[in-house]
Amino acid sequence: MSKKNNLSAVEHIKTSSDGLRGTLKESLDEGLTGALYEDDQSLIKFHGLYQQDDRDRREERSAKKLEWLYSFMIRLRLPGGFLTPEQWIGLHHVAGEHSTGTIKITTRQTVQLHGILKSEIKPTIQSFNILNLDSIAACGDVNRNVTCSAHPKESAIHEEVFHYADKISTMALPKTRAYYEIWLDEEKIADKNEEDPLYQDRYLPRKFKVGIAIPPNNDIDVLTNDVGLIAIIDNGELKGFNIAAGGGLSSTHGNPNTYARLATVLGFVNTENVLKAVYEVMTIQRDHGNRSDRKLARLKYTIDKFGVDAFRTELEKRCGFQLEEAKPYIFTDRKDHYGWKQNHEGKWSYSVFIENGRVLDDEKIALKTALLEIAKTGKANFRFTGNQNLILADIVEADKSIVEELLVKFGVIAHTDQAGALRKNAMACVAFNTCPLALAEAQRYLPSLIDKIEPLLKKHSLQNEEIILRMTGCPNGCGRSPAAEIGFVGTAYGQYNLHIGGDRVGERLNTKYKDSLNEEQILSALDELFAVYKAERTEGETFGDFSYRKWVQTT
């Protein structure tokens, strides 16, 4: 690809796409292949879809003189991860009709469906539209799904904070009507002004993630975002937010210019100024982010190139106001609080454990059916957590028993209670068979690996430790493996780098400890580490802090 003005190929695709339209309509009509034309594969991301193929089938399909088995993944835009029960029922049916059927709760509080054929994309989006759901900007070089602490509020403030997720999402929506024209058959209005002051015609250099945390719970891993907002509440009043910038976990094996980074707290903004501040961080990234090398395009590299202070100065200049000094806050955990909880209004919620966020019916538990039945009662809202779990929320006292009956009937309560501590705090990205970037398995493998780690923990009497363990099939880190106490990062099929030393609350990344281990080596390494941890830790010291102290700090 020729580099005009030293821009990457994707940049050219964006600017010549006529507002992200490209040749998507023609691609959909092309009956010779289940794939899109090449440039459209980049553009459809902005519409919330990825083109994928079943990697397990590649060899056999080729032998049969058939192309790869292409299908599409669609991800919804759900600021703060909230669905009404009616929307969940609709989602259940859309999943069954157009996709593999499994509803995947993502690591950023939304849902995605896999296995949608090219000819089914439009009907799927139209079905979602009827439910008032869309997938705009769920992927691509734009602001992605805005996350927000899901946890049942101890105070009334939560609802107020939650609205900021929606406000930010709306503020950062692309202005182009392409989505509506292509999928919803909206008429293209000639000469309509589609100016986009935020994104212009080139959008951002890379993806952009915004998250809002309400201390003391950091379930959304706020510092892993490009912009992390930490709600500051004083005397029952939302004062504003600490604003942190430059989080991003991906790196590339063998490329030392790439690295995982947690966001740096820049300062405090009040509620009046927060939207403007977020907006201007985006404009700085738009204007100064690296558009030649996509591997160095995330905001974290832009900030590090500027230097934090210079960045802050530029931000204040664009905002027209100064950032105040950051206000104190404390995070005490990142985990989901499973089971029944009651909030300040007396309403109940039940947090369900869903391994790797995968909602389906299998031989162990008919989770998908269970949730459908609960949704049909209309008695609970559906809120997704940053740990890929589900909170059945806002249940009034009178309805609690109805929901509980169903939870018991389908074994959901037993399933949640019986899962061990490690498993309940673990996370994996999708990887195979659909992700084209995966080097090794993640969600298909982690459950069985945990089966083998649990006896090791038991051996050292550590089975109740809520150690945060995460696995990703490649160093892009979609499953947030660099931000875990124990991280597995795939290097080749069946092999993982072992990372240790991350903290429990999400304020310190881990460090690579061993390279390219197979399962046997993983288990033996963990066995050793657990033994030393048990023997030498101080009271209450987490595995992550101990590992950091013992093995990382010293090197």
């Binding site: 580099k3 056999e60 003189k65 058939l66 094996h253 063998g254 591997k295 084209p436």
Partner: protein
């Protein structure tokens, strides 16, 4: 390969020239070809007559870049009159390597110096085996990313292995970074120059072909080289692509069929022996031959779904009352047993020979070599007398493992043949009807025919039943297939068949036909070929502004001129 009319002209022209004069003309013609002194072709296309060399361009791709690049290169070669066999290393038949003359590889490097997953089979094959490739001329284009340490390692490995095997590197290994387009074109330019410069020495001298008059059927003894179910998992169908190799040159052309006599299932024959007590080695004299009964029942005599007349004879010999239905021999014996082995001998003598089944060839000698023939076989299942029955031959072929011996003969079809190279061709071939058109396209591709090609294909489901999809995609990308229309009947609420696509394209279809295109229909007779013919008539009527009678006349005329041919069954 030139059309009949031109061939006659050529023969007339050459009649009377001496051998020495013919040799001189041969050299003169090669000079013309290599120096491009011919006039442009009738259609104004830039292609020159193809060299007869076999040039393979193989790609190993992870993200699709190598494939896209290789396709572009193949199309560029075509414009220069060089025909290139484009193939993915995941689909490449490894046993072909020793027969290659020119082999060019475009391959990327992954991760820590690894080949793409799709090329792993090939990569392992050339590293795990000691091959000898003294006749091979090759070059490698390696794609990679210099920000990784093992830059282009896979390309280097492949280049080195071929060198070790004694092959001749005709263009040096070219390593490309992420910005590969310019360098790749340069490399390929060098490759094409090498091929063109070597073409003069390599044109074969006109040899006198001994004319053998065909006396009866010639049976070829072949070996199964490949046997692939083209339908994907979950399909309602199973369609086998069978490649048969032969030491002898197989005399056939695209449009011909081959006849195969299937063998009976061994387990069924065994059951018959058990039930009748006859000795497998007992030699029995039938009308046609004298052979051990094992051989007779396995290879020569039909024991499936016997004709009612045969069943009647069976009833007579065994003196039993048997209803007037068709049955398998094994079931007859089970329900209406023979008295003893001797009586069964009598039964053997009344059995009919196994009828050969005919299959349209789906290969082309120009493209696939003269020692190979391919067929496309649908696994037949049918309901007869409330019972699920299976096609004997399609079962036989479907189960035939690679390496099996197989005997066949060629049934020549005088009429279902490609027209002259510059004529346009319309092919309507749903399901296994694709077979002769694969042969047509391969032939036209290999010989550089300039006529346009339009293919109408239909099946049940796009994802599982698109027969030869990747080959067809390649033909579209390299321009061999000018137009393609697809109809997958069960992918939507309403059934869509090839004739619906014909109607949608009626204007252009009529245009092509009116301007000289030949129309071919291949596949099932009923109802497909009838529906297609009716649609053709409708289109001729409407677009040609003709009456119903006139349209019929028009079609008759096409038939008379050999421009409307059918291969239906």
């Amino acid at each position: 390969m030139i059309g009949e009319v031109r061939l006659k002209e050529l023969h007339d022209f050459l009649n009377g020239y001496s051998k020495e004069e013919l040799l001189w003309i041969n050299g003169y013609l090669s000079g013309i070809v290599s120096n491009g002194l011919t006039n442009g072709s009738a259609n104004g296309h830039e292609t020159k007559p193809a060299t007869t060399k076999k040039i393979s361009l193989a790609f190993g791709t992870e993200t699709g870049n190598s494939k896209k690049l290789a396709t572009q290169l193949a199309a560029a070669a075509k414009k220069r009159g060089i025909n290139v066999k484009l193939i993915g290393l995941d689909q490449y038949r490894l046993s072909d390597l020793s027969k290659e003359e020119y082999f060019f590889v475009v391959i990327s490097t992954q991760g820590e110096g690894e080949p793409p997953a799709s090329a792993k089979k090939f990569y392992d094959h050339i590293h795990d085996n000691e091959l000898s490739l003294p006749n091979l001329k090759y070059s490698v284009l390696a794609l990679g990313d210099s920000s990784y340490p093992m830059f282009c390692k896979t390309g280097e490995d492949v280049d080195l292995q071929f060198e070790k095997f004694g092959a001749k590197r005709v263009v040096p290994l070219r390593k490309c970074d992420v910005d590969y387009e310019v360098e790749a074109m340069e490399w390929f330019g060098n490759v094409l120059n090498v091929i063109e410069s070597q073409s003069v020495e390599n044109v074969p001298v006109l040899q006198q072909q001994p004319v053998k008059k065909a006396t009866g059927k010639k049976y070829y003894r072949g070996t199964v080289l490949a046997n692939i179910n083209l339908n994907d998992r979950g399909s309602n169908k199973a369609t086998y692509h069978v490649e048969i190799g032969c030491d002898e040159t197989i005399e056939y052309e695209p449009g011909d069929t081959i006849g195969i006599v299937p063998q009976n299932r061994k387990d069924v024959v065994k059951k018959i022996f058990t039930l009748t007590g006859i000795d497998a080695d007992k030699v029995v004299q039938t009308a046609k031959q004298s052979a051990p009964v094992l051989e007779l029942l396995t290879q020569h005599l039909n024991i499936c779904y016997l004709l009612s007349s045969t069943v009647k004879k069976y009833a007579a010999i065994t003196q039993q009352e048997i209803p007037d239905i068709r049955m398998d021999l094994v079931d007859l014996i089970r329900i209406y047993p023979v008295k003893d082995a001797a009586q069964f001998e009598e039964i053997v003598k009344i059995l009919m020979p196994i009828a050969p089944r005919l299959y349209s060839v789906s290969s082309s000698p120009a493209a696939h070599g003269e020692n190979e023939v391919h067929i496309t076989v649908a696994r037949i299942q049918f309901l007869a007398e409330d019972e699920q029955r299976f096609g004997l031959c399609s079962e036989f072929l479907g189960d035939l493992p690679v390496g099996s011996a197989i005997t066949f003969y060629v049934h020549k079809d005088k009429n279902f043949k490609l027209p002259a190279a510059e004529e346009d061709v319309i092919m309507i071939g749903p399901g296994t009807g694709v077979a002769p058109f694969r042969a047509f396209l391969a032939e036209r591709d290999a010989t550089g025919a300039t006529g346009r090609n339009w293919f109408f294909f239909g099946e049940q489901h796009f994802t599982t039943d698109f027969l030869y999809q990747t080959e067809i995609q390649n033909y579209v990308q390299t321009g061999v297939l000018s137009k393609i229309d697809l109809a997958f009947s069960r992918d939507q609420q309403e059934k869509i068949y090839v004739q619906h696509r014909m109607q949608q394209k009626a204007d252009e279809l009529y245009n092509w036909i009116n301007n000289g295109a030949s129309v071919y229909v291949s596949g099932t007779k009923d109802p497909m070929s009838k529906d297609v013919e009716n649609t053709l008539l409708q289109i001729i009527e409407e677009k040609g502004k003709k009456t119903n009678e006139e349209a019929k006349q028009y079609l008759e005329q096409l038939k008379k001129k050999g421009r409307y041919e059918k291969d239906v069954y």
